[in-house]
């Protein structure tokens, strides 16, 4: 494993650790009902905003960018909750704990199965092995860069994101 990868993983872990710590602290401050209420709040926040988001994010992330993965997955989870809640309303089902928990569990199960059965996410980004380079030919004052090697077919000449 490269030093850069280790360092990136450390950054991701640090950022996520801080975010998780902040979440727990905030939940502890906001919750009412003593220790049980705090635990319930933390578990619910994890169950809605973190865990499904992370699992879904793993499926749709191509960069291995932890923060983007979590944010994208969380928004997708919120979309699923909105949609399943709406469908429940349309079917005449009362929107309460069960109407939320069951779709969440289904989502987590699907995401976990897809994540487990699919190929490893790391290194799946197609540009990881692709050539980089390219500069605008009409830019006489551009900083010098190495010339663009051949690109894989169908890809932009712009280099892909690195971390």
């Amino acid at each position: 494993m490269s030093v850069a990868h280790d360092r990136r993983t450390a950054h991701d872990a640090l950022a996520l650790g801080l975010a998780g710590l902040a979440l727990v602290l905030v939940a502890a401050l906001l919750a009412h009902g003593g220790a049980v209420g705090t635990v319930r709040t933390v578990v619910a926040c994890l169950a809605i905003l973190v865990v499904p988001g992370w699992l879904v994010g793993r499926l749709v992330d191509e960069d291995g960018d932890a923060i983007a993965r979590l944010a994208g997955g969380t928004v997708a989870t919120l979309g699923v909750i909105a949609l399943s809640g709406f469908l429940a309303v349309e079917l005449g089902v009362r929107v309460a704990t069960a109407a939320v928990a069951i779709p969440l569990l289904v989502l987590v199960a699907i995401a976990a199965v897809l994540g487990a059965s699919g190929p490893s996410r790391s290194g799946s980004a197609p540009w990881r092995s692709s050539a980089r380079g390219g500069r605008t030919s009409r830019c006489p004052r551009c900083r010098s860069s190495r010339p663009s090697p051949s690109r894989p077919p169908g890809r932009s000449s712009l280099p892909r994101v690195s971390r």
Binding site: A31, A44, I81, R135
Partner: protein
Amino acid sequence: VTADAAHKDDGPSPGPSVRTWAALGACFLASSVLLALAEWMAARGDARWHYYVFWIGYALAVGPAAWHMLRRQTPGAVRGALVVALGIWSLAPLLLRTGNHPLLFDEFSHFRMLQDLVRTGHPVSRVGLLQIGANFPGVELVTSALYHLSGLTLWIAALVVAAAAHVALLTGIYVLVKDAASSSRAGALAALVYSLNPSWLIFDAQFSYETLAIPMLVWVLVFALRGARQRADATGARNRSVLIGVAAVLMAGLVVTHSVTSAVCALALTGIAIVATLQRRGILRSEVVTSTSIAWGVAAWAVVITILRFVNIGHPLVQYLGPTFHVSQQLRQLLSLFGIGKGLPLHAAFASSSAPGFEIVCAYAMLPVLGIAFIWASWGLLGARGRISPLVYVAFVLSLLFFVSVPLDSAATYSEAVHRSWAFSFIGFAVLLGVAGGLALDGHLAINVRRRVLWPPALRHRLPMRPAIVACAAVVAIGSASLGSSTAYRFGGKVAPQTDPLYVGTQTAMVASWFARHATPSDVVFANRFVIRPIAIASRGHIIQPGGTESHLILTISISYDELFAYRHDRVSYIVYDRRTGKVGNVRPWFWYVSNDSQLPRDARGQHAFTYRLGCLDWVHAVFATTDYQVLRVDQGALERDLDLGHTGLDKRCQAAVFHG
């Protein structure tokens, strides 16, 4: 090569040291303290110093974060972390303003919808505040989910959802542009540009449709564009299926969350599909290959479900959006700027505003600054059009709409809708300036006129250019906050009638708590648009639309039986009136949706308010009063008797003073 790639080639970056992280944390902390200080000073009635303290606090957080995000040697993961940090910090101004309860105008409507949803298990349409709300219950459904699972209070659950969505929006912009420009530096720049948006730092409401809908829109674009990216290997095909599935589900979630945002998303996806097709056919020169079949498939799904939802809702949606999207009136207003025809009644941006001079100057200076930035980015990207994503073309159109919307901002009818539309326009600016700025920062953007090179600038101009760009960003940040939201939304102050949201205070709290104790779910309350909101969330009763026929009883010179029938038909049980109506400010703004004279009876078009009339009617009697408000109980039996006898119920002693017929 981009900075990221160049940097990677140079070896692994150490990233910021622990000391740098500590310094950044201290900056965010100090900034939050200054924002709190500004709010405290404003609430104490300090003249204008709170504006300066606020902007110093703003600069203290955004400045160092922006510098680190745009530095060449900052690793992508650190940029992402700083985008998240900026997103979390930017919650502070509104949270400090509102405190632990709904305060801003739309929050009351959405919070009442949320209360009804939790109470009944279904979205309730007949609240009377937000007629269309029950048709787009996405944000309320998500919040009720968190409420049910976590045991948090409703308002805190709403804030948690709003906070998660707020941070995810900025992160979404970062990822969208990072993908489009293949540079995390460009993504970070785009996130910074979006954070200058007036709807970002201080929106009309923390908890409303757009809270969740706009992050959904951005992430639908992220997933759809990733799914449509051309790939050949098996892993790519599998990833693509998942991405398209997530984009489709999220789009379906968006359609039940907000009308305008889902329409914008469907149009944006269609635009992307059109550009991808033009690129594929060689009409637009491009090396970027996007799968047209996937682009069209996702766009078709978005368009079909949006149309189906709109058709399913039907008339209420037309009624709700009709006044905002009155194209002929908008065209009339635009033509009037060129002296063709007569324009709409005007809205003065800073009339009687307490905003300081420098904010007003920035608000006007923001427009040419954005104009120059738009031209620079478009021109620069024209030279690189062979390598840009279809998204950039859509961003160009969205940015252009900002400039089209500015003249409409001067029309009283459209100013609010225009401000809200900037949440979309700034996605365009973020993408356009992010991609162009990313290229420029890496030295890959060129603007040439014949043989003259306009960009990159000559070396001797580069040094003074940096502070100029920072100054321009400051102008947009200050100007957009100033132009996009009223000072009362930004800072507290003394209770002021007819001022959103300064009407909420001890008096409204007294009235609301009286209703909480005395009103039953079957009660129906009529009041002006200001006091009705605290009442709506404190009690379970129904609410009569403040601008309905009931309001004519106070506004018309003569009492008509239609007004009385309205009270009987809607089974109004309480009337709340503000003694200051007609004495403070204009009359009509007290009542919502009565801005247009044509909606009123002919004898209600003056600036009269006959509130004393309410004390003369034999079918109402006072049950509660504060200094400013009076609560009257309607005796439906007495009203019915009067109507049967052909009486208005007006006391003889008052008849000499009041016309009636």
